[in-house]
């Protein structure tokens, strides 16, 4: 007998959710709006909306029905960004990764320089990726979302996530190898 899906989040647990998931939600929004200050506001707005709707959250059951908290929050964040863009009457900015030109620390200097060059190439390739593929890749690799969560956050079929991730990796891997 499958367990029934968890319904709702109580107030105490919600505090833990905020502390645990702020980094993911923040990164998710920052990649869309490109401005840290605005991202802070929208991150708070996301959690406020989630808190208001916490009773409706349907956790995943053993059949894979329902959704994970992280995916749920990302889908709310996507709506918050969309609403903001609508208010501002402009499109969300494209996904961006932070500038970071430092050479990684530790290990042999030669290795580090090679690593730094690969990192630069990776950044360039990330920038050149189609927005949706880039987002899928970062949600998976940086934020650890499952395919189902990514599909929920980006509102697309899981098959699209799977193929999009494969294509993104193909292009990025080619870029890293130089």
């Amino acid at each position: 007998m499958p367990r029934s899906a968890q319904r709702g989040v109580d107030d105490d647990a919600f505090g833990d959710v905020v502390r645990r998931e702020t980094t993911v939600v923040f990164g998710f929004i920052l990649r869309r709006v490109g401005d840290r200050s605005l991202t802070e506001d929208l991150t708070q707005e996301t959690f406020l909306r989630a808190w208001r709707a916490r009773r409706q959250f349907r956790g995943e059951d053993t059949q894979g029905e329902g959704s994970s908290m992280r995916g749920w929050l990302c889908s709310i964040a996507a709506n918050v960004v969309r609403d903001h863009a609508r208010r501002e009457r402009r499109r969300p900015t494209e996904v961006r990764e932070p500038e970071h030109g430092d050479i990684p620390v530790g290990g042999d200097l030669g290795d580090r320089v090679v690593q730094a060059e690969a990192l630069d190439r990776l950044r360039e390739a990330l920038t050149a990726l189609p927005v949706r593929q880039r987002e899928m890749f970062l949600l998976r690799e940086r934020d650890g979302l499952t395919y189902k969560e990514i599909a929920a956050a980006l509102e697309c079929p899981i098959g699209t996530v799977m193929s999009g991730l494969a294509r993104a990796r193909e292009r990025l891997a080619a870029a890293v190898l130089g």
């Binding site: 905020v18 702020t22 923040f26 990649r31 991202t39 708070q44 808190w51 499952t146 395919y147 494969a166």
Partner: protein, 422 residues
């Protein structure tokens, strides 16, 4: 089975998301396909480089600030009565607000009906009024202990070239009274014995106050009947609530206003120019107290003194905060924040809107019945000198909007700027 399909499987396999495909099929393909084997090695290299990609980190306190907002919303959802703005709000809101200037989301057109006359009193809006010095002075006039008295002084810088001093005087017999001085040369002034709620000597000669008072009187509510004759002039009696205390306002026929209560009485006026409330115009100087020496307030002359730390600050002297999007048709003229609060000056043509948070209003406010902004209670405060302001909650922060508009338009403005969808 295509190479592309296999590469999708390899990708999904790394993520633990390969369902319904036998791993053996993938292995078999790799054994026979050098290109896909190379691809798998490239994915390994990609994973290694990814580890060095810097992570995006939110501000350390963001989660706690978020929780504070949620806690605020929880409180706001509890049923409650009339809200009173606590004094402690200043410090709390200051702490909350630094770095939290909101982004007003909506276009504005309400101000198109309210064009400030060229140059009319726009300049004071660029200043945040925030000097508050408190001191206790023990005076022994003529060296006579019997005449020794303690004066607790609160010195407020109220507006450019305008100083307001409240003096609570306790004499040797323990009797207390309160005096209020608006610094000479700036405005009419008044002095009142704290207990008697009536003029003492030196009440301004109302006949020399030229302009009629603005519709500020309308903020006071309905007249409660005739008041006493003040300085030979009949008055109308109003009752208002000031800082939670019920007070009496006496308005004379020339539309000047005197606010009285248990411990003080203020005389002043405001002015409407083309329907817009602008700063008080300087009126005849009336000296009833000895002139105040500004230097006396510059140094603590060997007496006990407490400087609250606020200083007069033009907005652009505050440490700059991040750019904030302006409502359509407006530009952000200046913005800044420090530990005591934040200020943001929008401008459209000559029309300024100053948004401040947690900066103490040094004026005696008229606290009216709360109005609603965005389904939330809001306070309209109408100072005797300066612009009306409205305080309300926006996304967990307390915002004070100050503009040269009547209070009802101010409320509409706040609604349009901050809660356009409601």
């Amino acid at each position: 089975m295509t190479h592309q399909q296999v590469r999708e499987w390899l990708s999904a396999q790394r993520d633990g998301e390969l369902h319904g495909v036998d791993d053996a099929i993938v292995r078999d393909h790799l054994r026979t396909c050098a290109a896909c084997r190379d691809h798998q090695l490239a994915l390994d290299r990609l994973s290694a480089v990814l580890g060095a990609l810097p992570r995006v980190e939110p501000p350390a306190a963001l989660a706690e600030r978020t929780l504070a907002r949620i806690a605020g919303e929880k409180r706001a959802r509890r049923p409650r009565g009339r809200v009173v703005l606590p004094v402690a709000f200043v410090a709390v809101a200051a702490a909350v607000m630094v770095g939290l200037l909101p982004t007003p989301p909506a276009p504005l057109d309400i101000v198109s009906r309210a064009t400030l006359p060229a140059g009319a009193a726009a300049a004071p809006l660029t200043d945040v009024r925030s000097l508050y010095v408190e001191r206790v002075v023990v005076e022994t006039p003529d060296g006579d202990p019997a005449r020794r008295r303690t004066v607790a002084e609160r010195v407020w810088w109220a507006a450019p070239d305008r100083l307001r001093i409240e003096r609570d005087v306790t004499d040797a017999t323990g009797r207390r009274s309160t005096e209020l001085v608006v610094r000479a040369g700036d405005h009419g002034l008044d002095v009142v014995d704290g207990r008697r709620t009536s003029y003492r000597a030196g009440a301004p000669d109302l006949a020399h106050l030229p302009e009629p008072l603005s519709t500020t009187i309308g903020f006071l509510g309905r007249p409660q009947g005739p008041g006493p004759t003040v300085a030979g002039r009949p008055t109308t009696r109003y009752e208002v609530v000031l800082a939670g205390v019920r007070r009496v306002a006496l308005v004379d026929a020339a539309r000047y206003i005197a606010l009285g209560g248990d411990d003080r009485l203020i005389l002043g006026k405001q002015q409407l120019v083309d329907g817009i409330l602008v700063a008080t115009r300087t009126v005849r100087r009336v000296d009833v107290n000895p002139p105040v020496d500004p230097a006396r307030f510059a140094v603590p002359v060997g007496r006990e003194s407490v400087d609250r730390g606020f200083r007069e600050r033009p907005v652009d002297s505050l440490p700059a905060v991040r750019p904030v999007a302006a409502p359509r048709g407006f530009r952000v003229a200046r913005s800044g924040a420090d530990a005591t609060g934040s200020a943001l000056l929008y401008q459209r043509g000559a029309f300024p809107i100053l948004v401040t948070s947690a900066v103490p209003d040094t004026q005696e406010p008229l606290e009216l019945e709360t109005v609603t902004v965005g389904s939330r209670p809001a306070f309209v405060r109408v100072p005797l000198y300066g612009y009306p302001s409205i305080s309300f909650s926006y996304r967990g922060a307390q915002i004070t909007l100050t503009a040269p508009l009547p209070a009802n338009q101010l409320a509409q403005l706040a609604q349009r700027m901050y809660y356009p969808a409601e």
